[in-house]
Amino acid sequence: MSATSVLYDAPGKRAKRRNVIYTVVFLVVFALAAWWILSVMADKNQLAAEKWSPFVKDSKVWTTYLLPGLGETIKAAALAIVIALPLGALLGIGRLSDHAWVRVPVGAVVEFFRSIPVLMMMIFAGALYVQFSNVSSDLRPLYAVVTGLVLYNSSVIAEVVRAGILTLPRGQTDAAKAIGMRKGQTMGYVLLPQAVTAMLPALVSQLVVIVKDTALGGAILGFADLLSQKDTIPANYGANTIATLVVIALLYIVLNFALTTFAGWLEKRLRGAKRSTGAVLGADDADQANAPGAPANASGA
């Protein structure tokens, strides 16, 4: 079922009237809820102009708090994906190996790190750096966040890579074998390049997950990211907690919405591409790779 409109007929006179009634009822309920929230906010003095105006009038809020915080968030996310990509590719290929002594341990590692929450890995990594390294304490949160994200996401990317390779038509492997390529050549010259293209949308979707997960560091590990400004700004601009949270949320939403839209566009473009096998891994496949147990299956082609 592609178009959802098959669920109902084109509205006639009565249906149109009914739709108008539903619309009005919904608007009234929505307005009441909004009014209630706003009145509670006004009650707690969160609507006062001086709590919101710094975000438009005082550029220091942006240059001192929000933008540096956003920079740290992006830095952690970028570092995590750059380190996790090659690791994930290695793990993903290792899991497809013909040798059981490679395949089985790699599979165990991937399943292990997909099964446990990324927050636990960040906390663990932070403690590791305290005990076994001399990373300075102001860099430690970044290290802990990136390490946790890398451990988790390299195993997620491993699943995406594996699904990307499995989604390619069998003929690709057969053709490579027929012209006498060895296993490594088949993987390196034929399968991997196509799999990378196929899994681009899924990787961009995973980047959204990574950006969202960096916020854990801000809330729990003392990482000075965008979310952690929820404490610094209200401390300096008169307890404007709600205003600050709204602005921070908007920044995250804009960043992630841009990434999500880009992933969707890539997926559509790749699916329509003529010069490929048409194998594409989208956001759904990335979601699937995030859940342990069930292997991400190839649903592309």
Partner: protein, 224 residues
């Protein structure tokens, strides 16, 4: 190596019980709210569709940590919503469930919507030909078939939810990750043992869920 388990100082099972409770309450809540959202997104009323789409796009792109911090710091501390909770502990728990439901329901909604798309067009057309209304088409014909095909994606959402409950540590709910942080600070000599215990706990929670629901999804899937 594992003697910190016997000291009686840490309530390990209690912490994991909170994790399980968070998961179950949030799972039920987000299944209901997510199904309603999916209904809105395919409904004939344009405003409801817009609301559903807007809600999903906004909430799904917000970090869960921010959603929960917003619930605790914004709704709880600043606006003093208590959701009927009596003490600090129960208020925190309820706000955490609220945040987890708000966030997870967007993923439930998207799964169900993709499930609706797997139901053949003919099913809805036949239902409409019989004169069924939109609500009847959706609840009697399309959703029952859609649910059967989305057991596996919903299982993935449930597993992600189980792992996501650890984020509640950010707002002071005494669940597994919060206890792990405390234990790592106190028992730094047994760092690896502590991590192993908690990792094992989560594997026990997530792996069987995935395997069991994977089996269920194969059993109930509509053969086409």
């Amino acid at each position: 190596m594992f003697d910190f388990l016997d000291s009686g100082q840490y309530d390990l099972l209690g912490a994991f019980w909170v994790t399980v409770q968070l998961t179950l309450y949030s799972a039920v809540g987000s299944l209901i709210w997510g199904t309603l959202l999916a209904g809105m997104r395919v409904s004939p009323v344009p405003l409801l569709r817009t609301f559903g789409t807007g809600y999903v796009n906004v909430v799904r792109n917000t970090p869960l940590t921010l959603v929960l911090v917003g619930c605790s710091l914004g709704l709880g501390q600043t606006l003093q919503f208590t959701l009927g909770g009596q003490d600090f502990k129960s208020i925190g728990f309820r706000l955490a469930v609220l945040g987890l439901v708000a966030y997870t329901s967007t993923f439930v909604c998207e799964s169900i919507r993709s499930g609706i798309n797997t139901v053949p067009v003919g099913q809805a057309e036949a239902a409409r030909a019989l004169g069924l209304s939109f609500r009847q088409v959706l609840t009697l014909i399309v959703l029952p078939q859609a649910f059967r095909s989305v057991v596996a994606p919903l299982a993935n959402v449930l597993i992600a939810l189980t792992k996501n409950t650890t984020v509640a540590a950010a707002i002071g709910v005494a669940e597994a990750a919060a206890l792990m942080k405390k234990m790592i600070e106190n028992e730094s000599s047994a760092l690896f043992a502590v991590f192993a215990v908690f990792a094992f706990g989560f594997i026990v929670l997530t792996l069987p869920t995935g395997l069991l629901l994977g089996w269920v999804s194969k059993r109930v899937a509509v053969k086409r």
